[in-house]
Symmetry: D2
Amino acid sequence: MSGKYKIGIIGAGRIGRLHTENISRMVPSVEIIGIADVNMNEETRLWAESLNIPLATGDAMDLIGNPDIKAVVICSSTSTHADFIIAAARAGKHIFCEKPIDLSVQKGLEAIKVAKEAGVKLQLGFNRRFDHNFQHIRELGRTGQVGDIQIVKITSRDPAPPSAAYVAVSGGIFLDMMIHDFDMARFQAGSEITEVYATGAVLVDPEIGKAGDIDTAIVTLKFANGAIGVIDNSRQAVYGYDQRVEVFGSKGSAQCENDTANSVTLATVDGVKGEKPLHFFLERYKDAYIGEITSFVEAILKDTAVEVGGEDGFEDMVAALAAGKSLKEHRPVTIKEMKKELGV
Amino acid sequence: MSGKYKIGIIGAGRIGRLHTENISRMVPSVEIIGIADVNMNEETRLWAESLNIPLATGDAMDLIGNPDIKAVVICSSTSTHADFIIAAARAGKHIFCEKPIDLSVQKGLEAIKVAKEAGVKLQLGFNRRFDHNFQHIRELGRTGQVGDIQIVKITSRDPAPPSAAYVAVSGGIFLDMMIHDFDMARFQAGSEITEVYATGAVLVDPEIGKAGDIDTAIVTLKFANGAIGVIDNSRQAVYGYDQRVEVFGSKGSAQCENDTANSVTLATVDGVKGEKPLHFFLERYKDAYIGEITSFVEAILKDTAVEVGGEDGFEDMVAALAAGKSLKEHRPVTIKEMKKELGV
Amino acid sequence: MSGKYKIGIIGAGRIGRLHTENISRMVPSVEIIGIADVNMNEETRLWAESLNIPLATGDAMDLIGNPDIKAVVICSSTSTHADFIIAAARAGKHIFCEKPIDLSVQKGLEAIKVAKEAGVKLQLGFNRRFDHNFQHIRELGRTGQVGDIQIVKITSRDPAPPSAAYVAVSGGIFLDMMIHDFDMARFQAGSEITEVYATGAVLVDPEIGKAGDIDTAIVTLKFANGAIGVIDNSRQAVYGYDQRVEVFGSKGSAQCENDTANSVTLATVDGVKGEKPLHFFLERYKDAYIGEITSFVEAILKDTAVEVGGEDGFEDMVAALAAGKSLKEHRPVTIKEMKKELGV
Amino acid sequence: MSGKYKIGIIGAGRIGRLHTENISRMVPSVEIIGIADVNMNEETRLWAESLNIPLATGDAMDLIGNPDIKAVVICSSTSTHADFIIAAARAGKHIFCEKPIDLSVQKGLEAIKVAKEAGVKLQLGFNRRFDHNFQHIRELGRTGQVGDIQIVKITSRDPAPPSAAYVAVSGGIFLDMMIHDFDMARFQAGSEITEVYATGAVLVDPEIGKAGDIDTAIVTLKFANGAIGVIDNSRQAVYGYDQRVEVFGSKGSAQCENDTANSVTLATVDGVKGEKPLHFFLERYKDAYIGEITSFVEAILKDTAVEVGGEDGFEDMVAALAAGKSLKEHRPVTIKEMKKELGV
């Protein structure tokens, strides 16, 4: 029996498989000894087998109850996150859970509380914090190379809109899409958001409007440390996944470009042409997905704090809810007010 | 006597001299036959002489009353703009006037009205519209190459803050600094601003705060065509004058970089280093200052509409006032509401 | 027993381990069932075990003689390449061999001939052909987007010089370093080199000069299709591994930048600073190493020609020898003359 | 009478007019009081009048013999350069002369000698030394920021080939086009060229080949300080005037990009597109033409050495002749050998 750290995966959908394959290939100190999926079938079993994962089950409790398993990676549907966190925490497992913890803030808070009481680590899947560009910008901010941070600007645009059907159950642009950017804003500012003001429009797809959502948004932020910020989102940047961050401060400004497949430019009579941004999150954040899992494992093995914990997910969600309230009521909304309304 | 188009210059301060020298050197179809400055002195006389300008006077009316002079360029202090516009218009002169027309919207409107009734051209000094980068972005927008415009983003940061004394009489960041960006936003959107929401902070210089102003601001915008936008301003970007624009639409996104003195990069063990942005407006907009005057002369000679007229200056000023009100009242303010309050 | 394609690795040094780990992680259709190293020891055995490789042996013939093994990857020392190629070819194994085949062209040719007669595939480790940038430039050339190729320019500089001791046995800069660039030049030109002229100097390390070699070189090239080219090499670019290619033709020019760890720039009072190129080949060509092995496996499984075969290695080596002769005799040297001299 | 420095212009063709207008507009310390052109006509007279130049004559000696004129700018046809230099020098005038001094090296040398003996300044029109990018690279080299210079690389490609008729009398690609690059190479290396080796081809226009010239060339260089270099020329870069320089040394590498009309990029589904290089020398070196004249005037007024003197033009020409000899004889040619052959 190998001396590797043994874990289980809950959920064998797209992200579950991504994490599973990343861990199998890239995290040699870890061994996946079981995978659970509520829709376990032959295809999934064969896939697990090809990765030398001995157990493939339809019941996540087979993993949570397994004493050999020290940690679980939860990639099942959102509605199950909080329950699995609570069960795993009570069983003493460390937990990596895809965001969000729950569509209900209260239930999310309960899960966070249980994990805390159980003394297990809880990391959320805010993968962008592990991106090479954003990490380097944060490092420049953290080490004082941009001075006092004054403005945080985030551009975050998807290449193509989701279906209106998806939008209808997504929780809306702030919870479904901009939540990543609220997290990035807090990460880069090194400070909590205190107030938001949201402007939005339906400019991409009228069906999104009919579903009660918007597809284009600009949200301004105030942070506890005095900095201000702005995030812009669009559900459709036809040129690809546009993911840029700028942190401006008293000593300078750090910013990044989009990642591209290559740096080749072709100069012709028509101009000088280069590559578009990488299409979407699986390409753009390929290494960040590996990074977050590696970081989680390191936090366990070295017993350090996780890079992005349950409280982060909670704060991100409150910011998203406040943005929704701001848009609806057409006024700035403080985080304090929002928390009070939520009773949290 | 030459067949050149004869004009006079009112005001021989920094901008007045800049326009005078640009016209003398770069606009061969025009001859400056007089310059007026309320503080006319020997040094200014010699300077005028060196440029072969026959008349140097302390009284602007010497130019406005001169039948040979067909147009005037007003670069005197702001408080005199409206009066000179009115006098020149009544004398049938075409007018180029530095912005703003007046610190009072009502008085500005009157000047605009008089110029209109007199049938003379009135162009305002929003030089940035003539910048090579911003003009090209507008061209891409105007010709449909970015599709329907959805988001306009403007970064506009000065290299160093003005003195608190200046700030105290400047009209505040929105009227003194961001007014250029409101004009740029309207130019790029190809549409009027309908609503603004301002967030601000004092992060650069506490003295600016004591003078009742802010030094860092983010303003979100709604446009009549449905697009949304955002402007960020800082009174101090230590790396230089940061002037960037992005126009995002249904077919793509156009953006520019800052201008630099050269494109050289030096790769060493410490990294790859390039030039900072050009320091400030005289360097950055050197060609734009020539462009706006050239455009004004062309509009006269070809009898076409000026590129940026009195109405533009009026709309820009209302947006700036609305931003101030938004900041003060901590809520979004519509242009309609602001105009109603101003009685215009 | 799995249905995977079974292979063996010969040589467990740096490159051997790199290929082994890449195949284990990234090429799921292949299974490494044995690894041989003339200095097999406990550490290597444990490493092989950790990758689930059942056999670790000191004798490459244990792999070459194993009927389950269908292909071998030769990463042993250069002096053994030709012999292992010949043995493996006679045993009917497909062969991936690190460059060069041999320091003797004649022996290299013999190995190529044996592999050809045996009907096995022989791919050489010219990994740069699989780089994302260089592949895209080649694609633009191949598809006619740069028109008729007229000039090929290659910049290729190492971050730090090897020891003089290494240099003494390396075969010299042309065989040890520029051979990659001769291969790249032929790849990008889509044509064979017909003549070379070499200029060189000792500017980095006098010890390299004492060892009879140079450390800085510029070689001009003529190609069979009429194009001309130039390669510059330095043993020491203090800012990192400088690897750039430009292909210029009748319709335009394609070029690339160096890869960097991230695209972040920091603007301060001192200028705008970005990342240096990735340090050296293991970082820079990480994906290219995976790409070449993947391509080799695909060529076997689909029974297509390998991307870079024995003949390529032969032509590259003749070009390198001709460059050495050119430098020594201070005159241009044709490939035809060089081959004649070599009797090949 | 003004206290300005009085000069005369010889030659009112394209470059003569360019210098005349630049001086009139941009060099306030200088007054042009006469212009001579062998084909003086009404149109030229009117143009001179519009610039307030009192004298327009068909005879250059009217200027050279005028005691008020302290310096002349020679922009007449090449065959007249040496004679005008000699006459002007003997008359005690400082001289700015377009390159080359003469198609005969011997006659050029004589002119240089006469100017030297007369104690007048002689500057040649190697405008590129005054380009913002190349000057900054030189500054980085001169101040030791790239360390010991080891490699100088120059890319220099015209947007479109001249007519075969022009080519026939041009002196060939090395004297007509690459001479600028030999000058740039010497400037950047801070050292004299000692040897050249030329490779060339006819790839752009067969008519150029029929005229006995080539249209594509790569020349390698050795410098007296030990550095090596390479220049590539093409008569046709369809994407515009390609003018780049790289200086590589022991501490790093300095390089520049082409100048463009603006920095705007448009990202669409088709990629990210930017501007081509500025089309040709009048646009690309607009400021460099002003810079060289300004520098000439400063050298006179401050009595300092000119930035690029007759000896530079002589060395550049010898390098060009040596490259021609190298191409013809298919071997490297030293400058020493070339000078010996020329008897200089």
